[in-house]
């Protein structure tokens, strides 16, 4: 009986396009179900929550009572200096990480471009920070930076003569030669670059393999030096992948939570938007407010992406 139905369903239809149509929808159905349940439905819900008064204790009664619409969550978020600080921190954090991660990946990919003995092994070993589970990477970094027994502070005290240990993970600003720098934020950025640069390296290396050497050889024969060849011939061909990586890295870092939460728990001026969403939800038990923070975060991200798309379109037009 079941096989009969199945055979009818899967049997050979008349034309290829009919067959593709039906098979395509059947094969995509489970994926679509997952996306509707785990993304589209939640997206609708987050908008509703953001515009209503709802707290964690209200969950059991959810759906039985009419929604209590209000703009209160947005008013409170936008009127809160902590929100704007978190937004600024997030933008700085994501931009610095993006520049560092893609820049470092580019330098590494170019340095490893020429074949040598053991290149495969070196490439594989450079990926270790990316493969490391975030919890392991964090534990190791916390140990290195520990004020008491961490290797950096121990070295500073015993060899460089520091008077006291530096709290790398809880110092909002410190002065270096009279210039204030956000120390902990920079540490977190360095951590994020450390774990993500290998992925940029991987992508740029893959793209480099598709760059034909013939143009460079011709340029070299015409007397161009290495820097000129890299700057004028290789880099323009990498532009596409570099822009793509910048975009992805910015999007990913903009919403990253675990790295910062595990390293600093938001201390030392590292309260980013993702941490705010979490605190509103868990510590303050305020679903509506957490949803509003999350929604505002998405609005900022999507507007930045829109600007990026418009700018890159215009550039193409000019060319």
């Amino acid at each position: 009986m079941t096989t009969g139905v199945l055979r009818q369903l899967w049997g050979r239809p008349r034309s290829r396009s009919q067959r593709d149509n039906r098979n395509g929808l059947l094969l995509t159905a489970p994926t679509f179900l997952v996306i509707v349940l785990a993304s589209i439905l939640p997206l609708v819900m987050v908008v509703i929550f953001a515009f209503s008064e709802i707290r964690l204790v209200d969950i059991p009664r959810l759906g039985t009572e009419p929604i209590d619409w209000s703009l209160h969550n947005f008013q409170r978020a936008l009127g809160n200096p902590a929100f704007w600080r978190a937004l600024g921190t997030t933008l700085l954090y994501a931009s610095l990480t993006m520049i560092g991660s893609v820049g470092l990946g580019l330098v590494l990919a170019l340095a490893l471009r020429r074949p040598f003995r053991g290149r495969g092994l070196v490439r594989a070993l450079l990926l270790v920070p990316y493969v490391l589970p975030v919890i392991a990477a964090v534990t190791i970094w916390q140990t290195i930076l520990n004020p008491q027994y961490g290797v950096i502070n121990a070295f500073g005290r015993e060899v460089l003569g520091w008077e006291q240990s530096i709290g790398f993970l809880n110092t909002t600003t410190t002065e270096v030669w009279g210039i204030p720098i956000p120390l902990s934020l920079l540490v977190v950025v360095a951590f994020e670059i450390w774990t993500s640069a290998p992925l940029s390296f991987l992508f740029i290396t893959a793209r480099l393999q598709g760059v034909p050497p013939s143009i460079e050889e011709a340029a070299a024969l015409d007397g161009a030096n290495g820097l000129q060849i890299t700057g004028r011939i290789v880099l323009p061909q990498l532009k596409g992948v570099i822009l793509l990586l910048c975009l992805l890295r910015f999007i990913w870092t903009f919403q990253s939570f675990s790295e910062i939460y595990l390293l600093t728990e938001g201390a030392g001026g590292t309260q980013v938007m993702a941490l705010k969403v979490y605190t509103e939800l868990v510590t303050r038990a305020d679903i509506g407010s957490a949803a509003a923070y999350g929604l505002l975060m998405s609005v900022v991200l999507i507007s930045l992406l829109a600007v990026y798309v418009i700018l890159s379109r215009r550039k193409v037009d000019l060319e």
Binding site: N23, I35, A111, I135, I140, V277, S298
Partner: protein, 289 residues
Amino acid sequence: MTRRRSALRPHPLSTAGRVAIIVLALIFALGPVLYGFVLSLRPYTSIVQAPLDLIPTWDELDFSGYTTAMLDPAQGGFGLGRFVINSLLVAACTVVLSIIVSILGAYAAARLRYRGRGFVNGTILGVYLFPGIVLSVPLFVLLAKAGLTGSLIGLFLVYVATTVPVAIYMLRNYFQALPESVEEAAIMDGASLPQMLRSVVLPIALPGVVATAIYVFMIAWNEYFYALLFLVQDRELWTAPLGISQLTDFNVPVTVLLAGSLAVTAPVVVLFFVAQRYLVEGLTAGAEK
């Protein structure tokens, strides 16, 4: 007479710079991991007394950090073994369901020209790029309402949802690289689509499928945020990353934390290097055009 340097051979200075970059990069990439490993083999007291003596002496070599981390609290340990089993369970189930769903979806995306294809592919990409942290709020509410936030099943469902888009992206790249003629021949010979998928496509695409499965496993194995959000109240259900992070607050000696972290790291690093070639191919296929 001095021979002119070949135009194609790099300047010695640039070679020196390149070597310097590679050496520095290796030190920065591996140094911290080696440091963590070395410390995990020393007793805590000697680390505090001599933090700069990096190489442990022969008689202070101490593997008790690993056993202490893994053993149950009843046996004087910190119970990481139990958390590892939880993690394995969730990650393995995630791999199975996520890969089944993704094979079907990815094959449709790679090969079939069905109506609504652009819409489906666009939605998958949009979901992949959308800030996941925003969706965590309603997902938490939905699963709490269903009574699943305090269970590994809730975590498993979320992991399937978050891994399907990336698994589809990778599998699609592998499927697109397969020779289409074999599939057409199988259909001509009267094979139905499921038969063809099982006995023609999957065997050829197996390395790619395994690589994707490993990648999905790594995501589920490493995930921390949802584990924290759902399970922090229930020690019995902690996953390995959540367990280690919670132990930090319990005044556990750093040697035990490092030992636990590295024990959790070993399987993913090994898996990654086993499948490295295929993984790199699948992840970067978009970059090579």
